[in-house]
């Protein structure tokens, strides 16, 4: 249940994010989860799409610096304490989370997690009956 996430590197200049999104729109690619990490000079845009390999090659062809990164997506009940429970289980394990971001999708909430060991995270999630999903 490994999910391939795209990470695109953008310079912090006006309109760069807009242009990148335009490229994806033109190719009919729909983003499910999306998050921007930024510093003063540059930003890293992370997102998940239905066909990551296709989006990857389109972005590369358009000159973007892009990486495919293994992440895990966990579905949690869209209610108070839903996310907390999942995070507690992971925190109590030996996994280091590099970053995570969450999004709601209809009745459920999902959280994308990038950590030092994707396999270990999947094991722990399965052992604790957390629901791993594809995007």
């Amino acid at each position: 249940m490994v999910v391939k996430q795209l990470s695109v590197y953008l310079e912090n200049k006006p309109n760069t994010l807009n242009k990148m999104l335009q490229v994806l729109t033109e190719h009919g690619i729909n983003m499910t989860a999306f998050c921007v990490a930024d510093s003063v000079d540059y930003g890293i845009v992370r997102f998940c799409v239905g066909r990551p390999e296709l989006a990857y090659s389109i972005l590369r062809e358009n000159g973007y610096t892009v990486r495919l990164t293994d992440v895990v997506c966990i579905e949690v009940p869209h209610e108070s304490g839903g996310l907390h429970k999942a995070i507690r289980i992971i925190s109590e394990s030996d996994i280091n989370i590099d970053y995570m971001y969450a999004f709601a999708d209809g009745g459920s909430a999902k959280v994308v997690i990038r950590c030092n060991s994707t396999e270990r995270l999947i094991e722990i999630a399965q052992a604790n009956h957390l629901e791993l999903v594809k995007i």
Binding site: E11, A37, G63, T65, R114
Partner: protein, 433 residues
């Protein structure tokens, strides 16, 4: 191979005699045929008869790039325009371009100088030389072209640009020599890597690189990536173009064709000639030029001269590496910074390409020192903290050499403009008065 043994291996005493004779002639020539030179000599109280030997050169006034601008385009012409067979010009970075005019003899002497360079690199009539300097007003293309023809090599007048065709010709015609700027050589190396053409289908063995300062590290990078031996060819438009100097197989300094271009090292501030071996500003006098001779032309290049005989057998004086230019040296927060230092550091870091762009500005009375650096694709991390560590590592490496802390802006590979002529690597936005 030594192209012109009688000149290149001439004993020092004979050389100085030859230089003295030629200096007398050229001074006589400009005094009688070029009003600005005559007026300037009169102001300095020097007559042609005061110039008896090469030692008397110190009596003559300097000339500069500014003179060429002030007398643009024909003011420094020392022959009737009907004697001029071709023109070159430097890209005018500020205002007017600088125009150089050549007589038939000037073109022949320049080709002779260039041919000595190519022969020193081990090239000969069996070689195929691809000239990928820009052809046109820039001296690089046609200068290397004439030298290559004079050598008797098969000359491919590629000019710069059209990368695919560059690689196609290089492979199909079996080019053994490549003449271009070092930054363009790196660009072609990248293109070759991407093209998928196997290295054994390329016969390239020698690079003839010049027109911009480069570092030892950049040389190693080019040699490694293209699998060739890379030689520096030195030249400047005002003096003729590529071929003023060259490296021999010892690569222990740049031999200057001093029978044609007489070098001096002076104090950049006082103009005083400095003792042998001292670092200072390089000054050239063209000893055989007819069209637009330059007398004691200030190059702004900082270097030193070595007069000992070279192990290659040549006695031609050698110039040390050019440390920078008096006019491209940046003073940031009171510290002297040469872009070549930044380049040298970047070449030692595996994570980055040796392409960079420096922006200097003054914000709240403090100088800013930003460097855009291309981080290689595989070293990108999508974890912010790892990117920050890499930025710190680069900044620290530059700080330790340059002496001040830069702000590193990582950019994607191939985003910094690759120049096909002289690379522009600095934008100084500070306004001083």
């Amino acid at each position: 191979m030594i192209w012109n043994t009688s000149i290149e291996c001439m004993d020092r005493e004979s050389m100085r005699k030859l230089q003295g004779e030629r200096l007398r002639n050229v001074v006589e020539h400009v005094y009688h045929n070029c009003a600005p030179y005559r007026e300037r000599m009169q102001q300095a109280g020097v007559k042609p008869s005061d110039i008896q030997s090469i030692d008397d050169i110190v009596k003559l006034p300097f000339s500069s790039k500014q003179d060429l601008r002030d007398y643009y385009p024909w003011g420094l012409l020392s022959v009737p325009q009907s004697e001029i067979v071709k023109i070159h010009a430097s890209s005018g970075t500020t205002g007017k371009p600088i125009v150089m005019a050549y007589t038939r003899n000037d073109v022949a002497n320049w080709a002779e100088a260039g041919t000595r360079c190519l022969a020193a690199y081990g090239l000969g009539k069996d070689d195929v030389i691809q000239v990928s300097y820009g052809y046109g007003l820039f001296t690089g293309g046609l200068g290397a072209h004439d030298a290559s023809m004079n050598l008797g090599a098969t000359t491919i007048p590629m000019s710069a640009g059209n990368t695919e065709k560059q690689l196609l010709m290089m492979r199909d015609l079996g080019a053994t020599g490549l003449a271009c700027t070092p930054s363009y050589a790196l660009y072609l190396a990248e293109a070759l890597e991407k093209s998928g053409i196997p290295r054994n289908e390329i016969k390239l063995k020698v690079g003839i690189f010049g027109a911009e300062p480069w570092t030892e590290e950049m040389r190693k990078e080019i040699e490694y990536r293209l699998g060739i031996k890379a030689y520096d060819i030195y030249g400047l438009t005002e003096i003729s173009g590529p071929g003023v100097g060259f490296e021999c197989e010892c690569q222990n300094g740049t031999h200057l064709n001093e029978d044609l271009f007489f070098p001096e090292i002076v104090d950049p501030k006082t103009g005083e000639v400095l003792p042998e071996g001292t670092e200072g500003e390089l000054v050239f006098t063209t000893l055989s030029k007819e069209g637009m001779p330059m007398i004691r032309f200030r190059t702004h290049d900082l270097t030193h001269l070595i007069y000992e005989k070279c192990s290659c057998g040549r006695t031609l004086v050698r110039m040390g590496r050019i440390l920078g230019r008096t006019d491209d040296m940046l003073i940031i927060r009171g510290v002297n910074v040469f872009p070549s230092q930044v380049e040298a550091v970047l070449c030692t870091l595996e994570e980055v390409e040796p392409h960079f762009f420096i922006t200097v500005d003054r914000v709240n009375n403090t100088d800013t020192f930003d460097i855009e650096v291309e981080v290689k694709e595989k070293y990108y991390s999508d974890v912010m903290s790892e990117m920050e560590l890499l930025r710190k590592k680069i900044a620290h490496a530059i700080h330790s050499v340059v002496g001040i802390q830069p702000n590193i802006k990582p950019v994607a590979p191939n985003t910094i403009e690759r120049s096909q002529g002289k690379a522009k690597r600095v934008n100084d936005k500070r306004k001083f008065k």
